[in-house]
Symmetry: C3
Subunit: 344 residues, 3 copies
Amino acid sequence: MSSKTNPGNFFEDFQIGQVIEHAVPRTVTEGDRAVYGSLYPTRFAIPSSAVFAAASGLAVHPVEELIAFHIAFGKTVPDVSLNAVANLGYAELRFHQPVVPGDTLSTKSEVIGLKQNSNGKSGVVYVRSTATNQRGETALEWVRWVMVHKRDTELPAPETVLPELAKVVAVEDLVIPAGLDFAAYDFALAGEPFRYDDYAVGEKIDHVDGVTLTESEHQQATRLWQNTAKVHFNKEARPDGRNLIYGGHVISMARALSFNGLANAQMISAINGGSHVAPAFAGTTVYAWSEVLDKAEISDTVGALRLRLVATSGRDESMTLRTDEGKYADGVLLDLDYWVFIPR
Amino acid sequence: MSSKTNPGNFFEDFQIGQVIEHAVPRTVTEGDRAVYGSLYPTRFAIPSSAVFAAASGLAVHPVEELIAFHIAFGKTVPDVSLNAVANLGYAELRFHQPVVPGDTLSTKSEVIGLKQNSNGKSGVVYVRSTATNQRGETALEWVRWVMVHKRDTELPAPETVLPELAKVVAVEDLVIPAGLDFAAYDFALAGEPFRYDDYAVGEKIDHVDGVTLTESEHQQATRLWQNTAKVHFNKEARPDGRNLIYGGHVISMARALSFNGLANAQMISAINGGSHVAPAFAGTTVYAWSEVLDKAEISDTVGALRLRLVATSGRDESMTLRTDEGKYADGVLLDLDYWVFIPR
Amino acid sequence: MSSKTNPGNFFEDFQIGQVIEHAVPRTVTEGDRAVYGSLYPTRFAIPSSAVFAAASGLAVHPVEELIAFHIAFGKTVPDVSLNAVANLGYAELRFHQPVVPGDTLSTKSEVIGLKQNSNGKSGVVYVRSTATNQRGETALEWVRWVMVHKRDTELPAPETVLPELAKVVAVEDLVIPAGLDFAAYDFALAGEPFRYDDYAVGEKIDHVDGVTLTESEHQQATRLWQNTAKVHFNKEARPDGRNLIYGGHVISMARALSFNGLANAQMISAINGGSHVAPAFAGTTVYAWSEVLDKAEISDTVGALRLRLVATSGRDESMTLRTDEGKYADGVLLDLDYWVFIPR
């Protein structure tokens, strides 16, 4: 008998300043682009077309930013969230450069915050994770915090450290991809005529379309990212006998659905925050709506929109985020706040 | 609130001569070949093997012709058939050159026919669509006609224009791929010994094998082609709560099943016509049979067979296309008429 | 009417010394790596990362050995096991060199054993199969034996020939991939600290994690390998109306699950034997455990472990292979005996 298997880290295993080098590096390929395209109804012109990407000034044909995010994120699961009760939030996610086929991503995380819960049975761990490519350059970075079980509830609580996190990534911190230039942007090919100036802060867009989730598809997606959380794959791992769908699956689905009304919101630059408000299961029909939260001019041809992307179970044409009591409205699955580049 | 989402075109939005440039260009990759191979039991030697393709005189390893068709077709859906009642037919489809990984396809359509239905609520739209690659060369073209709802049933009917369409693509209009030469064709590696001379006009082939359709697979296929028709993905979009399977999924399934008996029918050159006779749903077990409709010598080493490919729900060993009354027999899902190249 | 379809070979169609050249050659691509990664929770560092592979001395980034096996094996199905009652066993499987994207594999088989069953209705066929790449080099070879129906039960039995098969591939027959060197092996990136010396003969490892099988996924995998056995795809092909899951799907699932405890068991070198003990169906939750059967030093930096990999339906923490009566324990799906390279 041996005990070589990974039990995951518990709350008391984390210490402020600790750096975790996550396994396993992963090379991105054109295969990832195709599988992603089979799982999400994505049509954004830059990741869809090498020619469109080149016409936008990009030297190599990038994959969707969320492919890079899911791969980089997946690496942190075995070390950070295998014993997580819940994924509580994201902040300060920034893409530093497009990820292209051939890139190999590795992720490291630093523990930047700890707070034991008052029940003494669990605590919240904050980590800043950085994914680097084969040249050692940062591809993306982000902070997330998760609630993790304690192994030994008798252990004393660590000193509480709460990191200061930006509520929104500042416009000056957005990294514009090298060469990105929308001067020659072809709106007809991209699918919609709307540019930066056509979107107003406060505007809401009902993306209309819905997708009914299936068991195979969310598992295929989650595996593609080498995300090992048991609850997504093993029906015996949950008392209700259902597979919980990886929150990232809902993010990608909602982002893809948002094409219808935001076709020119081409490249995600940053994620300011996000909440997986309710779980999703096979059979759920996911819809999405967006709200324009802010705008910023980035270059002569590139603008940025700050968008709230809301995924719902069933369509909510009223696009209601919260009830009068301030709680999330029934049916809300995801509330994501992000910056995206769009032609001016 | 905004109205930036695409409501699709209604019958009255189409005019004779109108040219629609469809979004979004799409780069074909080796990933598409792999995903296609995971969704259909395809074994044709040229798309399966780069070595076999090279030995057949092809400079680059083409993907299945139907990959090119589905991608090119998918682009037309948001503009042509989002409000379609039914896809009524195809004609004059020709592949002008093989599509290879790295090619980026774009599609344009010209409205070539209009006929309002007598009920005044809908009409038939005929479009000729052309897919071009990144060099501006035609990859394939075809005509299809769809029945589309009117938005405003009070509007007067447009002048009826019915295009003249060839019932069959003429042999002299078939485009032989550059370099194609079956002189060194290896029948053992290809899977069957039968060549051009072994097929007789009128011969029918029961392809024997069946595949039970699943919900995930048809959705993955249809998404891969960026086909946005709601009925394929959203169980809430149909009164019966079932996802209608994209007709192209049945075409690809039947074509793959036809390997068993037509292993050397290597490259589709043209589609003369086709009808999606009945809808297919997850759980349907698809079988296929073929009938040799015509033959033609193309070069010293290449022949062409004109084939009827029939997909059925459940196996019909009698291979009955129509009842005595001339209606399609029960169980027929697809009736496709196409030209394919085969070694002489 | 024609009879061009492949009925498969029956027992009396096989003769000692007969060589069968299987259709259809198949080019391996990066797409296969991605689809495989979407179907199995695999994380082994060499196939996951081109950088890690290069740091291990490999000139090109290999795909998982099981991808090569499944493709090579799939080619034999239409000729060898289309009419098989059961796949009885494997022996002497050796990988001669890593398979990389761009390689085109073809498979030949030689009949090396025949034994009619006493009931006269079927017999056992032994074939040695060899897969070669586009340079004519051997990629892998193996022996398997299957029980095959007779077409004509009146025919006399052939002379019984039973091949002598090695119970275990000898250490000196293992082929070390050109350049393989674990001197610079990064255990943190690979996911676990355990090296050759950390594993003891007799040690058992419960791999902890489980995956609930779905209908789409096993079909996608099996199609990807161009495996045409009807029972995997056609619910009408079995009296119970269920799709039998390809045994290789369970092998790949168990191998992927074994990462947790055997993360450094990087490259499969040989398969000594294997039994598909019980059938698996959609809904089965697969777990795995391993036992170290033997060890061998291969080079200064490379060791080999001989492992038993057991897949079970439901987790068996007792890791019981057989009952006191010597029968396989309830729940055992697969018993596989293989050699794998691991850093010393």
